[in-house]
């Protein structure tokens, strides 16, 4: 019985690993082919390169202006996240400490707004912000606050239920004003949920394509997803450069993932389950 069980487990182990390798094979094929010349990709897609060349990477790196593009993505994401976290936590705090019907209705409004898909508001949004001359980098960050605050407030609101109001009262008696209570007492206690909220928002904003393409495209602040179209012209596909460019673009994400995978998986799981 025990023997049979351990053999069964070995078979599952082997099948699992094989499936894991199959799962990773698209990445493997992308990387291996990025080292081939333009011609070799067409002649020999499956084998290892006859001669490993690094030229694709240097050329793709230059054409993407990768350092600049990467910094654009980073600055846009970090700025958006900081703003979303700060203002959402503040709003959730106000809503959770006010038991009135109006407060409940405002909370419901934020939750209901999660049902609205981006494509159903994007056309008037672009028109409206175009009129206000706000189709730029700062307009984009403000839009991320608008689209990101609902889920963030929802998650913060849930966490705030677990923080006792007596803490607020004690701090108030000690002479803190409302903002000081929030900043010195509440916000530090929200750190675990803040990490979850930050992770969920950064995965979305870092990878977002459609919104930036409508708001900042061609303004010199292109993010990584916007720049990648460089290698995918209507008629010419430069696979050797595209694969190298895709590989370069993925590396920062994979590094971040390997460093913070526990927090990332926990954050994603908490965000979905709550």
């Amino acid at each position: 019985m025990e023997k049979k069980k351990s053999r069964q487990r070995l078979i599952i182990e082997v099948l699992g690993i094989l499936f894991g390798l199959l799962w990773l094979s698209p990445f493997y094929l992308m990387i291996v082919n990025a080292f081939k010349t333009k011609l070799e990709i067409f002649q020999n897609t499956l084998k290892l390169p006859a001669e490993w060349t690094f030229d694709n990477f240097t050329q793709a790196f230059e054409e993407l202006a990768f350092l600049q593009t990467f910094m654009n993505s980073l600055f846009m994401s970090v700025a958006s996240i900081v703003i979303i976290l700060f203002f959402s936590a503040m709003a959730a705090y106000a809503l959770s400490r006010n038991g009135s019907k109006l407060s409940g209705a405002i909370f419901f409004l934020f939750v209901a707004a999660m049902l609205i898909p981006f494509q159903s508001v994007m056309i008037p949004l672009v028109a409206l912000f175009g009129k206000a001359d706000a189709l730029n980098f700062y307009g984009l960050i403000f839009m991320y606050l608008g689209f990101g605050c609902s889920l963030s407030i929802f998650l913060y609101h849930g966490a705030l239920k677990g923080i006792s109001k007596s803490l607020d009262e004690a701090a108030t008696i000690d002479g803190c004003n409302r903002f000081q209570v929030f900043w010195y007492i509440i916000l530090p206690m929200l750190k675990p949920i803040s990490i979850t909220v930050a992770i969920l928002n950064i995965i979305w904003i870092w990878n977002d394509y459609l919104l930036p393409s409508l708001v900042i495209s061609g303004a010199g602040t292109d993010t990584i997803p916007l720049k990648l179209f460089l290698f995918f012209g209507q008629y010419t596909k430069q696979w050797h450069l595209a694969l190298a460019g895709l590989t370069i673009s993925i590396i920062p994400v994979i590094i971040a993932y390997l460093f913070a995978q526990k927090q990332i998986i926990k954050g994603v799981s908490d965000g979905a389950v709550k």
Binding site: P26, A94, P117, V121, F179, I203, W206, Y257
Partner: protein
């Protein structure tokens, strides 16, 4: 904080302003514009339901809608079966479970646009090479017709989403109490009975979350559609989200596009609300 407190409103002001100008106002304007001949800047007359009547006859929109429905149904089934299977694999006692968890979740972190480009390479170049080397015909010519475009999208979606759904199922599977399963085993339950009578009911809420996430995710998909097939060949794999974007920003038919956007909103809202309602009800009954 009371309603009349200034601090209450100051704390809420930034997000209320952002939500109002970014989501709510555009939604209301959008609904209104869909009844006019709006061109993106101004409108000259109120048309009533004319834009919507035009849509009924718009074959491109109907095809996109039908394709999206088929794609969503297929994705929900494949992603959830795969996600649950992966979750059961990495919560079993195998040694490589933590490594595999990392591996299966990885595609989920990378943007749909990049994943679509990678799979475009796999389908058009790698599949083709394998097909030619082995003489297998069905592996050749992927993404050049609507059937392979459809399955290409489903495979891409499953590869990206299964790891995400896996993580959700794991959260529930790890809550299944071990002593309950042990007690059942002592009482003579076989593995299927244990799964059917203990694990499955306890994991039931995960279906609510997972199906809801996959269905609305699949229905709203755009980036993957753009980078994998770009709607081709001949718009046969174009989905609703892409149809709206193209109608507005390629063909500049703003009022028509906005009418499509309103229909899109209604469908997504109905799906979400129904899903939540049905699953909530079933959970109570169980």
């Amino acid at each position: 904080m009371k309603n009349k407190d200034l601090s209450f409103w100051l704390f809420l002001a930034p997000v209320l302003f952002a939500l109002g100008t970014v989501v709510l106002l555009p939604l209301l304007y959008g609904i209104y514009y869909s009844f006019t001949d709006w061109n993106g800047v101004s409108y000259t007359q109120f048309l009533g339901l004319d834009n919507y009547v035009t849509l009924l006859k718009d074959e491109g929109f109907r095809d996109a809608l039908w394709f999206t429905v088929k794609f969503s149904v297929a994705s929900v089934i494949v992603v959830n079966i795969l996600g649950l299977a992966l979750a059961m694999l990495v919560t079993s006692k195998i040694k490589s479970r933590n490594l595999l968890r990392t591996v299966f979740f990885m595609p989920n972190l990378i943007g749909g646009l990049i994943l679509g480009f990678i799979w475009q390479f796999i389908f058009t170049k790698v599949f083709d090479s394998i097909g030619r080397a082995t003489g297998i015909e069905w592996m050749q010519g992927w993404l050049s017709d609507s059937a392979t475009g459809f399955w290409g999208m489903v495979i891409l979606m499953s590869w990206q989403m299964a790891g995400y759904i896996m993580v959700i199922y794991i959260a529930y599977l790890e809550n299944v109490p071990g002593d309950l399963l042990e007690a059942a085993e002592i009482d003579g339950a076989n593995p299927w009975q244990k799964f059917r009578n203990i694990t499955f009911p306890l994991v039931m809420p995960a279906f609510t979350v997972s199906m809801f996430l996959t269905l609305s995710g699949a229905f709203k998909i755009y980036d993957q559609n753009l980078s994998l097939t770009n709607g081709g060949p001949f718009n046969s794999t174009k989905m609703v989200a892409m149809d709206i974007v193209d109608t507005a920003f390629k063909f500049n038919m703003m009022a028509t596009a906005q009418a499509k956007a309103v229909i899109f909103f209604i469908i997504v809202a109905i799906i979400s609300l129904t899903q939540v309602y049905i699953n909530k009800k079933r959970e109570v009954e169980m």
